[in-house]
Subunit: 176 residues, 2 copies
């Protein structure tokens, strides 16, 4: 996906999206990888800011495919791992190198991010990480209360009945 | 985004993606809404299966935009809320109506999902929900140990020093 397709996916252009675009591209380049069709690549993201949408588009590590792992550290860091080469790379955006006058204007900031040299804003390191487990498909069971289907690993036991979490919470608060 | 663009985003075609496509489309139709450029729409998803990638593409509720809320209930349910109309709709996929012989063949299953009548597989209800809060932009501070930037809300206090979660965890385990 090219930058304009990524902007279309995200919905609008912004500095955060441009940052994620540069970070994800730099990670793929360092790994010598292309987009993940299935789960060849796994990405661990340390925030859930705009840039992750660019990462989803560029790496194919998407929320729905189980190869996007969110660690809520509030850091502008992506670690991308290739299951084929068993190599990992950590990409960090260094906001301190962005001149203050650039950061004041969001449009200019985004343009600046897209055009500056990677080494000015990014730190890219190879890292050793443990191979993340693959996403698993689970069977589903009906909740004993609402009868809706629930993935077996998310079933709760309520006095011997297998129920979904919303029904479990409702019954617990009604009786609490 | 059309179906082939969504398949490209997800990386491959599968029954789960087709299910999410039908669910998200049905939700948008019920709300009489189009894709969210910014945060007009908020989606609450009750699993992180393939279909959520179709929802991200169709509704514009994306992981990076803060208008995709994940409740890990293991249920094939999307609740989509419009900040403009203050209306919400709950869409549930009913797997029990899919004939067993269709489910055995993934390609045929996906095709069947895309072509069957919505009322055969989906339950769509309007719901009253509280308006979810908008995503907030936070300032960042440098971690006192690694010096990397951390969102202020994710800072931890380590003996009076403001540190990031990975440094906090490392120091705690080193001294534990």
């Amino acid at each position: 996906m090219n930058y304009s397709e990524i902007v279309r996916f995200h919905g609008h252009e912004c500095p955060g999206l441009a940052i994620g675009y540069r970070m994800a591209l730099a990670g793929l380049e360092a790994l010598k990888c292309i987009r993940s069709k299935d789960e060849e690549l796994v990405s661990i993201v340390e925030n859930d800011a705009c840039g992750v949408d660019a990462l989803q588009c560029l790496t194919g590590s998407t929320f729905g495919k189980g190869n996007l792992i969110f660690r809520n550290y509030g850091k502008q860091v992506y670690t991308i791992y290739s299951r084929n080469s068993h190599k990992g790379v950590r990409v960090r955006f260094n906001v301190t190198t962005v001149p203050d006058e650039i950061r004041k204007d969001r449009k200019r900031f985004a343009e600046w991010i897209l055009s500056c040299a990677a080494e000015n804003i990014l730190e890219v390191k190879t890292v050793d990480i443990e191979q993340p487990p693959r996403a698993k498909t689970r069977t589903s069971l009906p909740c004993a209360i609402c009868r809706e289907s629930v993935m077996e690993t998310r079933i709760r036991d309520l006095d011997g009945r297998s129920v979904c979490i919303p029904c479990f919470n409702k019954e617990s608060s009604d009786n609490g």
